[in-house]
């Protein structure tokens, strides 16, 4: 057992927000290190530092491989040393064959031409080790997502690997495929490879890992043998933190008047060709914050988007609004029904970054800002300015493009846009992602103010302390289904995590076989 990777006091920040705050990690040959932590704890950032995605001058701290200091300029430098990462999202080419995908970055050339025969032979050898049921000539798009994930792993093995980093590799694998993957991982371990395994699935961590490193808020919290820590301690390490100061006083009083009631909701996502929300039922009350928690990919965003009538989903089920059955076939119908949705990614689908702040705030309510059919924004200037001051948006002029604002202020513009429509149900998807603590606090205070005004607020968030600190009730989602509802004292980090994790192996088997 010799040391492969060693990091000391790694710091990394993105424009003022620190993602890593002094992380220490040690990886020896012939071991599997399980890396655990909540979403946003900094796991992926750390892996990107070690695999050369961020060049040496973009982070601080010491980082060595086999005792040599590393100065990676790009991923290629890391791969040359044998440090290879399999990312959570697939980086494959749908129109190429499996063999071409495996060797895309290191094609063997024979007399100036691609040596197709040799890559197919080598690929088939690797695929045989992996025990998959397709061969090297298969076109990638003919494979299932799980099969494609195996190709991604084959790609890593085809290189001369010394350190293999797997970032949530099993999220789209069936149980059988997971067992095959573990078999390959054990084989690599025997050959002296060091593996880092990132996963939310504690059962898998139990099965495959030798050591554990727990991260929280960009710091390494616990490092040691897996056998010396039990599951309860593990979860406590992952979530434990003092959250009392960040959250304004939770509103105790709950008005039992049901505003929104959803029954047997199913949402099929066209692009992924599968159900993302399955048989989901819940109610939301006037004057409360309802939280939706769950792991990455559990279907929180899909639930909100499909309820809002987004065109990526085919839905079934019923929505009752103030006890009347309604339909949200598309977003404009949803808006007319009194719904509002602040999206997860304000840059991608929340705001028009090049447009002015006032145009963005007005965009969702233009039909109501007219006199005799003509736009008369000047008449409504006051409402826009009121919202800007209510939300404490810091700006020099509302005529400037939104992109000139900071992340927190952009988020407030996105919320202002929807408050402009005077909604009755407000969906907030990751309302505080990537914004600083000050702006977070202001948004939390605003949410409480909105509840006092009688709004029904539904928050989907991967930020557990936020869900616990802010919400009256929390729905926990797991694989598109309702795993449970937590209320009052039950609403804790610990309980949410317990519900959010995939159930034990036994259940899993039933589903796959």
């Amino acid at each position: 057992m010799s040391i492969l990777l060693k990091t000391k006091k790694i710091f990394k920040s993105f424009g003022g927000i620190s993602a890593l705050r002094g992380v220490d990690l040690e990886l020896y040959s012939s071991e599997v290190l399980g890396l655990l932590g909540e979403n946003g704890a900094g796991k992926s950032t750390l892996m990107k530092v070690m695999s050369g995605v961020y060049p040496k001058d973009e982070f601080e701290g010491e980082f060595s491989f086999q005792g040599q200091n590393c100065h990676f300029k790009s991923v290629k430098d890391a791969e040359a040393l044998g440090i290879i990462i399999v990312h959570q999202e697939l980086n494959l080419f749908q129109e190429l064959t499996v063999a071409e995908n495996i060797f895309i970055s290191h094609f063997p050339i024979k007399s100036g031409m691609l040596d197709v025969k040799s890559i197919e032979k080598k690929s088939n050898a690797i695929l045989k080790i992996l025990g998959v049921d397709f061969d090297a000539q298969t076109k990638l798009s003919d494979l299932t997502t799980g099969g494609q994930q195996m190709v991604e792993i084959a790609k890593a093995i085809s290189k001369d690997v010394k350190v293999l980093i797997l970032d949530e590799p099993t999220s789209s694998l069936s149980n059988l495929e997971i067992q095959k993957l573990f078999w390959v991982m054990r084989d690599l371990k025997k050959r002296g490879v060091g593996l880092i395994y990132i996963s939310h699935k504690l059962d898998e961590v139990d099965q495959i890992c030798d050591k554990i490193l727990i991260m929280r808020d960009g710091q390494s919290i616990y490092a040691g043998e897996k056998s010396s820590i039990n599951r309860q301690e593990l979860i406590a390490h992952m979530v434990g933190r003092n959250i009392n100061d960040l959250y304004p006083l939770k509103r105790k009083k709950r008005n039992p008047q049901t505003v929104l009631s959803v029954k047997n909701w199913n949402a099929y996502k066209f692009s992924e060709k599968r159900l993302r929300v399955k048989d989901f039922s819940f109610s939301a009350y006037k004057g409360e914050v309802l939280g939706i928690a769950g792991l990455m990919g559990a279907g929180r965003t899909d639930l909100l988007l499909s309820l809002f009538g987004h065109h990526n989903y085919k839905t079934s089920g019923d929505i009752f609004f103030n006890e009347k059955k309604i339909e949200n076939k598309n977003p404009w119908q949803a808006v007319n029904n009194g719904f509002a949705l602040v999206t997860e990614d304000r840059k991608k689908n929340g705001l028009h970054l090049d447009f002015s702040i006032e145009d963005n705030i007005a965009l969702a309510s233009l039909p109501h800002l007219t006199v005799k059919g003509c736009l008369t924004l000047s008449h409504y200037q006051n409402r826009i300015l009121n919202l800007i001051s209510k939300l404490k948006i810091k700006l020099s002029s509302p005529e400037l493009p939104v992109k000139t604002l900071s992340g927190g202020n952009q988020q407030k513009v996105a919320i202002a846009k929807w408050l402009m429509t005077s909604p009755q149900v407000l969906f907030l998807d990751e309302p505080t992602r990537g914004i600083d603590v000050g702006a977070k606090f202001e948004i939390y205070s605003l949410i409480n103010q909105l509840i006092d005004e009688g709004l029904c607020v539904v928050i989907a968030s991967s930020d557990l302390p936020e869900v616990v600190g802010l919400c009256n009730r929390v729905l926990v989602m797991r694989e598109g289904q309702l795993a449970g509802m937590l209320e009052g004292a039950e609403n804790s980090d610990h309980n949410i995590m317990n519900l959010a994790f995939v159930p034990t192996q036994g259940n899993h088997h039933e589903k796959n076989i």
Partner: protein, 375 residues
């Protein structure tokens, strides 16, 4: 914070004036003769019309390659109605009906474009490329591959006629008074120290020049061309839609970020269909105007008009990816291209060379525009 002179906004206009000066010198003043300037505006008007429609489509993030063929097809339909149906003998009513028919043809093709693009989610480039070939073929079939002429005198007058000098002068006087009032309001703003003196003066001078040149030409020649009046009407309607109706904001929003527009409750498909409808309407109208000007409907009449329109829009500063741009910019762009054509004709440059030079000018214009924008 005082507003300073917005060079980006006026850069194309300034380039146009420089081009005017160069041509005036190179042609020893011939270029600036009122008759030539009037002819120039007649030559520009159809491309300018198409550029206005194209601006709508490009603002939504799309493109329409079929307008040349729509122009040809609606022109042929006009020719058939005037000659074969005998509407040419019905005087004013017949001309009006032919004009209406051309617009209907354009609207129909535009509607089909819009429906195919939105419902089958096929890129506009492909749909309108197909429509370019289909409508072009239909024009050849309907005309039996030969030109149709002549049109009635009233129909010819649509594109060739002039508003008599009397009413023309009155109209121009009215516009001048309105402009002066606009300058006065700007002056009040300037006095409130909202703009710098240099910005106020340069904007006033630039706008004045762009009004004085055509007014000087029209008043010393035959009056305002009817084609220019039609163009002005369409431009005013387009400006009204873009800046006074919610639809206008939606057009910008769809092109700026379609996903965000959808999630803001905007009916993206409806907005797109309306843009292609508007484009079709204008292409149909242009077909009628072209037939009127040439006094003949030829099945190949609209060839390459879509490219001139796209060039005008791009020179005018509208982003090809959608979401930002202006009608006025496209007008200036169309004027720029028309001026280059007219100037090279006056200088007696061989028409094959003209194409090469024009191509270079388009590239340089867009390149310099993108340089000022992203610096």
């Amino acid at each position: 914070m005082k507003k300073t002179f917005d060079f980006k906004k006026f850069s194309t206009l300034i380039a146009l004036f420089i081009l005017f000066i160069i041509l005036a010198i190179a042609t020893k003043g011939d270029f600036l003769i009122p008759r030539n300037l009037t002819n120039l505006s007649l030559q520009i008007s159809i491309n300018a019309l198409c550029a206005v429609g194209m601006t709508f489509v490009i603002l939504t993030g799309g493109i329409d390659l079929s307008i040349g063929s729509i122009v040809a097809l609606s022109g042929i339909i006009v020719g058939l109605s005037q000659v074969n149906l005998g509407w040419g003998e019905w005087g004013g009513l017949g001309s009006f009906m032919s004009l209406l028919l051309a617009i209907l043809v354009g609207l129909l093709v535009g509607l089909i474009n819009g429906l195919l693009i939105t419902f089958f989610k096929i890129p506009p480039f492909v749909i309108t490329l197909g429509m370019m070939v289909i409508a072009g073929g239909l024009a050849l079939i309907a005309s039996n591959s030969s030109a149709i002429s002549p049109m009635s005198d009233t129909f010819k007058n649509i594109a060739k006629g002039f508003l008599p000098l009397g009413p023309s002068s009155f109209l121009m006087l009215a516009i001048s008074v309105l402009t002066l009032y606009f300058f006065y309001k700007k002056f009040l703003q300037h006095k409130e120290k909202k703009t710098t003196t240099s910005a106020y003066l340069s904007e006033t001078v630039l706008i004045s020049i762009s009004i004085i040149i055509p007014f000087y030409a029209y008043s010393s020649d035959r009056g305002i061309p009817i084609a220019v009046l039609i163009l002005s009407f369409v431009v005013l309607a387009a400006l009204f839609i873009l800046h006074k109706l919610p639809l206008g904001r939606y057009i910008f929003a769809v092109g700026g970020n379609e996903e965000a527009a959808h999630l803001s409750g905007i009916n993206v498909n409806k907005v797109k269909i309306l843009a292609y409808l508007f484009m079709g309407l204008i292409a149909g109208l242009s077909g009628a105007l072209l037939t009127s000007r040439l006094n003949s409907a030829a099945p190949t009449a609209g060839a390459l008009m879509e490219l001139d329109a796209i060039a005008a829009v791009v020179i005018g500063g509208t982003s090809l990816s959608g979401g930002s741009g202006s009608i006025v910019g496209s007008l200036i762009g169309a004027t720029f291209i028309g001026t280059v054509n007219n100037g090279m004709d006056l200088l007696g440059i061989d028409s094959n060379f003209q194409m090469v030079i024009k191509g270079f000018i388009i590239i340089v214009a867009v390149w310099s525009d993108s340089r000022t924008k992203y610096k």
